[in-house]
Amino acid sequence: MPEQKTVATTGNSVVAEAFRQCAPDVVPAYPITPQTTIVEEFAKFVAQGRVHAEYVPVESEHSAMSACVGASAAGARVMTATSSQGLALMWEELHIASGMRLPIVMANANRALSAPINIHCDHSDVMGARDTGWVMLFAETAQEAYDNTIMSIPIAEDPEVLLPVMTCLDGFITTHSIDRVQLMDDESVSAFVGEYKPVNALLDLDNPVSHGSFAGLGGPYFEFKRSQREAIDRSKAVVERVGAAFSELSGRPFGLIETDMMDDAEVAVVVIGSTAGNVRHVAKQLRAEGVKAGLVKVRCFRPFPYAELAAALAGVKAVAVLDRAESFGAEGGPLYLETRSALYDAEHRPAVVNYVYGLGGSDVKLELIRSVFTDLSDIATGTPALHGPVYLGAR
């Protein structure tokens, strides 16, 4: 295992560091809160001559992803970062990036969407992009944001995958808080991500190709979409394989999901991102009080680990799914819908309740998490389960 350097810094700073270590050829970027310091720090690396990347300071996020598509199709390793309204503005291009099978890696600082305008953390932006065909990894901590960013490159560029990867970290909570992070040395990262060998590159001038052709009017559009589905299905094994290799290198475990105190859990919370820390803390307290509480954290949202989640929740009496995003008009938030779906084939389906929490950076206090576990204990002992998403802590 290579020696690692421990630093105290922000999530954004280590994502920028991971970008530098992954040695992209092109970084088109546009600033948006709270992603801004990622592209600022990378711009500093450019000014210092520490990277070879061509930095394209585009005039919008739409152009950022458009330039990513052009550069990736040309045969370059391409990385960018965005957030919130920026991701929303890219929406059209997100589909084109995945449809053209371009292994672009993008960090997203998870943030609420307007209206009303709000700059703080939630998952509305990324959950709005969940059907765009990107592989989606989520970080709880700055360490995971760093690790996920590095892992994203070999996942995206795997010949069996060739899909864009979004590496998500919670706005402000993870992007701006100072955290303890272990950094790999440049050589180890460089060897881990390897050299990019593009296929069908525009700059392969001796073998001209046309990208983005017209497949309508009875053309093979439908079949292209099926091959995209097959690719993201295949990506699951690749995410696991890359995760296992990185775990070996770094000594830090990686799974599609992370379970904590789940072996004998009777009540469990399923969550994504930084709130897993709050849940873990409360679950530990409750364990000391004799409550069999547990935590399941989802690290890979696309492809979604249905079987793994169902297995983790087997034997649990009551499950709470915490959603930091809405799916207005649906039965609950996006993670709730997936969890319910994962449990459909389970032998003993536990009660599953949904809490929408923390929208627009609304505080996720420990007593709120405790109240969720209290609800679960009540349900486990016979109280009827709540229906519809509960707005946790809304005034």
Partner: protein
């Protein structure tokens, strides 16, 4: 500048057999411009539109150069990304430092004047070494002849209809060429498919400059213009002769009227009716009752001509 003999020996980089209409000006523009690009390798991008859908019907492609279509509004940003990849990969040592490649983006007027204006402006300002070509046929022809900000005043279009309350498009055209010239890029020009020599030499200049260049090209659309498909080049020529579409260039900030237009100073411009008459989209303008609107159209042409002569130091 390349001679006709030289041009005739260059490979056509847009192959025939595509599905554009007979008489389409877009493919003529592309072929002339790619001829002007010389013999260096080129990579082309194209905005969503007739040119794109008709030349890349999977699994076929008419493009003999590497080609990318991304979406409607971002042909400029997309090619800027391709050009950035070229620079980044050169710096990485994966492409020889002395390798030369030309980058060109095409878009119609809808994809350039309207929805793609921001993407174009950004790419021009950032200084990418690329040529952006707008083939201006004056409406959203691919979606069914809807008005754009390039549609001439008074023209019929399916979203600027002719009826009792309104006689076609109410507004003037946007002067995009001046807008791009105001970006201070090294080379900006207006050309027409009717003047191949002028257009190929402008393309040659555009590709030769180090930095962004912009070409705005008048390209007939017989479907949208409601004109005879076998007279497309002639109709574009009338655009030049009436000064609906003056030919000029802006080289390093220096405005210069091109010779076919400069000749009109002495020879005189044809009245705008000559451009309008063969086109069904203007039929109502030439009918009794619309004399005032017609004179407004002519007055706008006169005013722009005067503006241009001033800018070119001819007045």
């Amino acid at each position: 500048m390349a001679t006709l003999r030289e041009l005739s020996h260059r490979e056509d980089r847009l192959e025939g057999g595509h599905r554009l209409c007979a008489g389409c000006g877009a493919s003529i523009a592309v072929r002339q411009i790619l001829l002007g690009a010389g013999t260096d390798p080129a990579i082309a991008g194209c905005a969503t539109g007739c040119l794109e859908v008709s030349t890349t019907i999977y699994p076929y492609s008419s493009w003999k150069v590497p080609f990318i279509h991304n979406a409607f509004e971002n042909s400029a940003a997309t090619i800027s990304g391709v050009e950035a990849a070229f620079k980044g990969l050169k710096r990485a040592g994966k492409i020889p430092a002395d390798k030369k490649v030309k980058f060109v983006a095409f878009g119609g007027d809808g994809g350039t004047y309207d929805i793609g204006l921001q993407s174009l402006s950004g790419a021009m300002e950032r200084g990418h070494d690329m040529v952006y070509v707008c083939y201006d046929n004056g409406a959203y022809m691919n979606t069914g002849i809807q008005r754009s900000s390039a549609t001439p005043k008074g023209a019929w279009a399916t979203t600027s209809e002719v009826g009792k309350a309104q006689q076609g498009k109410q507004q003037r055209r946007k002067d995009l060429t001046s807008i791009i010239a105001a970006h201070g890029v090294p080379y900006v020009a207006q050309g027409s498919i009717s003047h191949w020599k002028d257009l190929t030499s402008k393309a040659e200049k555009a590709f030769a400059v180090d930095g962004p260049a912009f070409l705005n090209v008048l390209a007939t659309c017989p479907r949208g213009w409601r004109s005879a498909y076998n007279k497309s080049v002639e109709h574009a020529k009338l655009g030049v002769q009436t000064a609906y579409w003056p030919l000029f260039e802006v080289e390093e900030g220096e405005w210069k009227l091109s010779s076919p237009s400069k000749a009109l100073i002495k020879a005189g411009r044809k009245p705008i009716e000559e451009f309008l008459k063969p086109q069904g989209r203007f039929r109502h303008l030439l009918q009794p009752g619309n004399e005032e609107l017609l004179s407004e159209v002519q007055a706008d042409i006169d005013a722009y001509w005067e503006y241009l002569l001033k800018r070119c130091g001819e007045l």
